[in-house]
Symmetry: C5
């Protein structure tokens, strides 16, 4: 049996009645789901074209939808082909090591008595979702709708987790921008904006399908599931607001960063000038006593030299105090 | 009795008829509210899961709504579960000490003959709202709708107060930006923008529920209450406009701040250059009279040295006047 | 009689039939307006709560609307309370002395046979509007609608005047930004943006009520008045476009101002550097002839000193010409 | 006959049947247009109030529309007064001498059997439009609608021409911004943005009337003309997109201009520093050999002086090469 | 036969039955397409006005549509003239040599039994599209709708390819902006933004026609083709999101570029100042020992000169270390 079918089973009244089906058995399996409320859940992971073709044939899927499910890299969307719904969602997760948001894809074919989940990428596993769902037989009796809800709920919970991580990153950037240290935060802000843009692409187009499920007006999705999808939809709206909020916050942080660079440059310039001032004034004094006039009384004084040095020290000290008071040093 | 039930009572024709109920009595209490127009108002504060479960059971609330009310951190929203309305509002208050806007949350379950308010956080107490309402028995005869109005009215009044405080902060920032002093306002502007973004998250999503109440088209909210909610809705629109207005003003102030930094840097640079000029010119003069030519008549003059010093002073004075006139010093 | 009632009269077929009523007579006055088409116009200015209460009672106004009319600081809005329309408009005028836009408020209660205008602030007087209207009896026969039109028309004409003044201010700023002089325009641009934001708050929300009047679909406003309100609505749209246009122009002007600061700084820097160059090169020459080598032929030359000075002058002149040609001086 | 009536004629089946009417004949002229399909076209240019009043009376125009046509400075708009349409369009043309966009105004009163065009400003002449139209009798048989189409088509073609000129200007600015020369483009960009804003005020509000004509749903405009107005509407959409496109391009160009200023400043600063370095290092060497120690062997060398000079030249050459290699000179 | 007719044929049940028709035969050819489902596909490339006129006459096309097809430079649009659909799409392709996006135009006249494709520009050839389509006879049986789909699908695939190339360019810019090298990326960012704006003009207006085809509500486009157009529409939405995403990313990259310039300038300034410091301090020491006091013990020391030189070296070394530690060198 190919590893591509991660798990597949027939459910009756919320319970698994047939287990771990081989691909060749898929044809017969639909016949096993013969009582009202029975349904098959086939879970695929990165299937080959041939494997998908088998499933397509067994469940009478539309070739365009199958092509989409195979190619991945779709936008989140909900489409109806005859009696079958086709739903694409993007899963997101956060990789701590490089502050990056990664994207997976889950495609679902939803019929009256079957659901096929096609997963791409490594991060969006549905194993625990299935286990949790099987533990709540009552929910599973709602059929494929329950599976769709469970997957969407899990994916959107993943969004919230990603947003929390990004929020922490933004907090760090904020601290760094306003720290006294000389930091170059623009690369980090840029990267975060890019990650947020990636999250946006997953989150925003999913709102419309969820809103439609929540309205209870999508044939094939159980009416009773509406309040649950309203919950998912709510969370999604919250995620969308966080995406917008973080993005705007980063823009503001970037502007503040620019201002900080300017302020720092200004301070550096004044420090430099003060430093130069501390050297050129005694140089002038040395220049004066380096003049070759025949009649310069100081040159003949026994303490002329210490007097000149004292003059230099005095001028430097005076300038120093003055610069300190004016906040230039 | 748990401290979590802050106050709960049965009202008949606008008057409290049963007082301070223990949680165990909640079951019976609904039976006391047996005449038309009677209703129970249960006020909870940061309840435990178990306590909410009791209330859920007594009043037949929807588990998803109860979960939301327990978790808090919801977006403001209005939802219908069967005969019960579920309304979430965010309260805001301003903490003067650190110029911060803080957020609380009030969840309301509104039925025909009951209202349950679930409050989170410290700032959004409803005690005085209840007292004021009890003082106006006529209003209370409208039942739960009157309580919803009283709470929303109070919350939105709180928004207006927060906006006034933020407006003062923006005025201060504005004064600081255009003051002659060297101020670094970007951190303050950033913080204010953040606070305003937080206020926005509370204010904006509440507009839709209030608009719906004002239209009188929400079953469970008394038709007669519509003009009152229209009033709340009006105030909310005003708050929303202030939020947008302050945000834009801060953006403009930030740009002006950037310009001020540039102008200051320009002025500093010219001052510095003038200062350097005042030193290098006499240094050149000293250099000239430090040359070792055999035939330099000035060196032999009796007053050569004072002459050179005078030349230096003259050049410095001349430059000083010139720089002053050109606005460089 | 209280000074708060600026003017009040009963009109029949466009003519005043009862004059300057005392507040105590307001009750009887409605009875005087007994023929079809008769109406009362009561004009109040900054009334006390008690005075408004009298009017509220006599004309059966809604307490919430009366509260709004008393508090002022409302957003422009149109509301219906039973048979009475409540309209709030903001008047604007321009104070030349400090380039400021000031705001007044006019509230109107419009019934079938009465109109009550409640004015706040000093700038929005309605005296001349009433006089002009009384001069056109035919228009007045349309009843309260004619008064509403006259007031709105006058207010919107005021907006146009304010916009013209602001346009002049923006032209001045523009000239200043691109002048060769060193100007600091950011404060002025900021202030203008603030004034424009204030105008926006008066103008934008009024568009919806005027559009509704223009559509002729507001009960209580005469159908025949629709083309006139369409005219007001048109002018308002023009004002709204000017508000947006000026705001964007100021943003562009601000950006140009920032660029000018940068360009100026660049020029200053190059001038300063050229100036420094003009001093350090002769200083180097002086340094060379200040060296103490035994065998330096120039030092023995009879014309060595003039030669050195000439060298200095030459180098300065050469640099001067070079800097001039490169545009650095 | 007043010069204000540029041309007026009665048309029957696409042919002029009565020519160059005097204003006094306008009354009779409508009677001449007695066959179905006949219509009068009166063309006015900057008419006086009295002249417009005559026309108003003869054709039963609405006083508000006549006032608008007299005042000019209207926004483009389409309004219905009874059986008469009132259309205002803005003509634009480009004045090469000062890169400016100028604005004219054409008002049209459109009845079943007449059209009155009122033109303001010098640039929007309709002479050739009338001549071209008269050359296509078949089109003219459609009556006033054909005239409206001809005028709008001509005006929108004018917009396209203006856009082409502005596009060239933007190309020039672009070349200038990225040229190696030190250019100050912000004033030019500002002016172009202002001209584009003026074009926008003419173009954008015209889209709605054209869309309505194109939909064929405006009584008084012939159904058969719909595809022609769709063509105009298409061109207008293209103009609107060009307006937006050029505006955004200029914003981007402005940002690039700011970056160029910064880069230039940076390069200047490095050149200046390198220049200073080339002077101060030999000055230090001269300073060293200007020290007065008794035991300085070099001072006694026969070739000490040339040696010192060589040292200076060497250091300058070394620095020069180093600066060149680092890209500082 | 003119080269302008690239290919034209009659199709019956998905097969070519008449081949490579001469223009003169076009009239008869429609008669050959006499069975239900037959259709003619005429492919033109940059036709002359006369050639188009022949086609116009043979197929009864609307003159306005033919004018548009001749002029090219239309916006993408879908229009109905009687029974004929007129569709304009823009093809895009990427020219690697100069990182430019180029634009072609394809106009289509779609009737029940014919489709005429008019192609402008060199990049948008339809040869392979026709060949691929002919290889799938089943698809071709859907008639002209199949051709429209094939062309649109190919064009939108071209958009995706262009977007991928632009994405690579943006990645390169990004790398360049954050590289340590001194790069001037603003010109490149500007060019890319311009190319993206050009792509936007092709992509955005096409979405509405594709959405309408996908809804199956356009008469003349086969109902069965709806899911296929939904696929095209999906890809187009993806392209539109990429256009927006890249544009925003470039804006952010530009801001980061500005920040990098500032940071670099700051670093340069500090390096320069440190360099100057390294020279002026030993110059001061040399100045001190160049003073002419009679009593300066060091001048008489045997090792005075080496001592002074050591002092200079020491001060330079000390400063060097200090600057290195502070990150100024």
């Amino acid at each position: 049996m190919s590893a591509v079918i991660v798990d597949s089973a027939v459910y009756r009244r919320g319970k698994r009645i047939v287990d771990d089906l081989a691909p060749s058995e898929l044809g017969q399996v639909r016949k096993l789901a013969c009582e009202p409320g029975d349904f098959v859940w086939v879970g695929l992971h990165d299937p080959t074209e041939a494997e998908l073709a088998t499933v397509e044939e067994q469940f009478g899927l539309h070739p365009l939808a199958v092509e989409d499910a195979f190619n991945a890299h779709q936008r989140p969307k909900l489409e109806r082909y005859g009696d079958t719904l086709f739903l694409t969602v993007k899963s997101l997760w956060y990789v701590d090591a490089d502050d990056a948001v990664e994207t997976g894809e889950i495609n679902m074919f939803v019929g009256d008595d079957f659901i096929i989940t096609v997963r791409h990428g490594s991060g969006s596993e549905l194993h625990t979702a299935r286990r949790d769902l099987e533990a709540r037989a009552k929910v599973l009796t709602h059929g494929p709708s329950a599976v769709v809800y469970a997957v969407c709920d899990r994916v959107v919970d993943g969004y919230l987790a990603v947003m929390d991580s990004l929020e922490e990153d933004v907090d760090e950037v904020e601290t760094s921008v306003f720290s006294a240290e000389r930091t170059n935060d623009s690369a980090r802000i840029y990267t975060l904006k890019r990650e947020i843009a990636e999250a946006r692409r997953a989150v925003m187009p999913l709102r419309e399908p969820m809103r439609r499920f929540a309205s209870g007006a999508v044939p094939g999705i159980h009416q009773d599931a509406a309040p649950f999808f309203r919950d998912v939809s709510d969370h999604l709206t919250k995620v969308a607001e966080m995406v917008d909020g973080l993005d705007q916050l980063l823009s503001t942080a970037f502007d503040a960063h620019l201002a900080q660079i300017q302020v720092t440059q200004n301070e550096d310039m004044r420090k430099i000038s003060a430093g130069v001032g501390l050297v050129v004034v005694p140089t002038l004094i040395a220049g004066v006593y380096g003049m070759n006039f025949e009649h310069m009384p100081e040159l003949r004084w026994g303490l002329g030299y210490p007097f000149a040095l004292a003059l230099m020290v005095l001028s430097v000290t005076g300038l120093w105090i003055w610069f300190k008071r004016s906040g230039w040093l």
